[in-house]
Symmetry: C2
Subunit: 335 residues, 2 copies
């Protein structure tokens, strides 16, 4: 009998190795989430759409989940990270542009005059973006982003920006992927600012990273083709732009969407309007001690109308202070 | 001994089931391709980039292959299928637009006057597209496309357009996917004209289908959100637009690209300019008997400059007559 049993055990081992993924549910996939209705709601939804034979089952290719980035996956205070990058670029490029010393909004950046910079509004910010994010090839811009993101530190947490990502959300991304979801980033941030590091930090590959774009142009340079970044906005992937981009890039409606601000409201509405089981979640920043507390009055990541709609429609609103055991990864990502 | 052997056989079976994909190479994956240097070149490339430990090995996530659609994956004569769709839509919508009887290019379509239609040029064609492809929600347009593509037949081959796809290219798509490639369509055709049927016919899901786009707008209608198709071009995914779209949508450079016309030249150049092993292929339509023969003078799918470049740079040029054993699937797709 022993001889017969041993091969049977080996068979079970084979099955285990090749069906390994199904073992993932054996331990808590969301250890940084405190127990409570929000964690339960996430697990219930995943269970509902992945249970074969259930009326709420969703085939794997339709399990699309979209995540905002700033304030949903990583810190967006005291300013968007991409804005910190743009300010650093203004300073680095200033010697080549002496006129900036007299010209707003560049002067404000060089003088560290955040009040005047803020007063320059969206127009001023777009001026900064175009001046610092264009005029080079896509390959050169990627190098510039990688160099900066590899060393720049968050002013309060004194760690790389890529280490100021939310551990509970990293777990959520991994949990969804382990359950057959395709996870996308759909961010107002520039797509070519996120792609150089997004796969390593979030496990989201470039082709699943959607964001705002500036125009590029195919050109021959030194005998080879390049894509030049032109000083002209192509698309702003925010607010009503998010469903437009989701339709254009993915061509399927998400069944789950995750955001934290009014910029995500239409993405959640678009997701909610599909048939079958749906999941909409907003991260509410309520933890001034461990991170930041802000909503209706914030200059970055304003959460006002979307919060009212979430409450009215019973979308999940994460209370960061109450729901999250930890905020950042213990071992900093990419460090 | 027999008792011991039986479980061992079962083990082998488990291994076979779970390692099943690796068996695909046991039989010819390209049975519709005649033996010869072009078939060999395809197989050699796939072997080079998938051989672990080889200096030409490419990790799976970087195995991106992009395919043009019209003339590369399906018939584009006597006119682009999407143009045939637009003409059918003009006829269907004519009762609601009595003015079309006197207005070009609509009058030409209704009179069956192809000469006047052709003389209206690109401007006329865009007028037709915008008049027939916009003014409805994305969901309604999808239904219109599905209804038409499910019944309309090719005027010469008397089968569904989706059955006028090239069997050797279907095998090539499947062969690349079996070897860990992510296959994309990058077409000048409208993305929302291709997505409703592309997955069933080509095995390419919506999120890997890139094409020309018209602008859409997020609106609330009857209490729910919709995306309205606006009468305004967003992006033409042709010629120098293809590398731009590849960079925007995929964010990685393909290692293999497949086309058939000058509209694909820049996509192949962009692919060729990457480092490491690369594969560029043009389908040359040389078979007037089984399909069509055309190149430098054709109104649709003109192949002139790209053919010269392909010859100069040793890109693979498929001679349809010589290289393909069969042209269309024996059992029509979708019928």
């Amino acid at each position: 009998m022993k001889l017969v049993r041993r091969p049977k055990f080996t068979c079970a081992l084979w099955a285990l190795i090749f069906l390994g993924c199904s073992c993932a549910t054996a331990q808590d996939p969301l250890p940084s989430w405190n127990d409570g209705p929000n964690k339960q709601a996430i697990e219930q939804f995943v269970n509902d759409v992945t249970s074969q034979g259930s009326p709420t089952f969703v085939p794997q290719d339709q399990r699309i989940a979209t995540f905002d980035n700033d304030g949903t996956l990583w810190v967006e205070q005291p300013m968007y990270t991409q804005l910190a990058f743009a300010l650093a670029r203004v300073k680095a490029l200033a010697p080549q542009h002496p006129v900036w010393k007299q010209q707003q909004p560049f002067k404000a950046v060089l003088d560290g005059d955040m009040k005047t910079l803020a007063a320059s509004g969206e127009k001023g910010l777009i001026q900064l973006m175009l001046a610092t994010h264009t005029g080079m090839t896509t390959a050169d811009f990627e190098t510039i982003v990688k160099d900066w993101i590899g060393t720049a530190q968050h002013p309060r947490f004194h760690r790389l920006y890529t280490a100021c990502v939310y551990q509970p959300m990293l777990e959520l991304l991994a949990y969804l992927r382990a359950n057959g979801f395709k996870t996308y980033i759909v961010s107002g941030g520039g797509v070519e600012f996120m792609r150089p590091w997004g796969e390593q930090v979030y496990g989201v590959p470039p082709e699943q990273t959607i964001g705002s774009t500036i125009k590029t142009q195919f050109e021959m340079k030194n005998g080879g083709p390049v894509l030049m970044r032109l000083p002209d906005m192509d698309f702003v992937d925010d607010k009503a732009g998010k469903p437009v981009a989701i339709n254009k890039f993915i061509g399927r409606r998400p069944i789950a969407a995750f955001g934290n601000s009014d910029g995500d409201q239409q993405m959640l509405e678009w997701t909610a309007a599909g048939t079958g089981k749906r999941f909409m979640l907003l991260v509410h920043h309520t933890d001034a001690t461990r991170e930041y507390a802000y909503d209706r009055q914030s200059a970055f990541g304003k959460l006002d109308k979307a919060l009212d709609e979430a409450k009215a429609r019973n979308w999940v609103v994460v209370d960061m202070k109450r729901d999250w055991k930890t905020i950042f990864p213990a071992t900093a990502q990419g460090q």
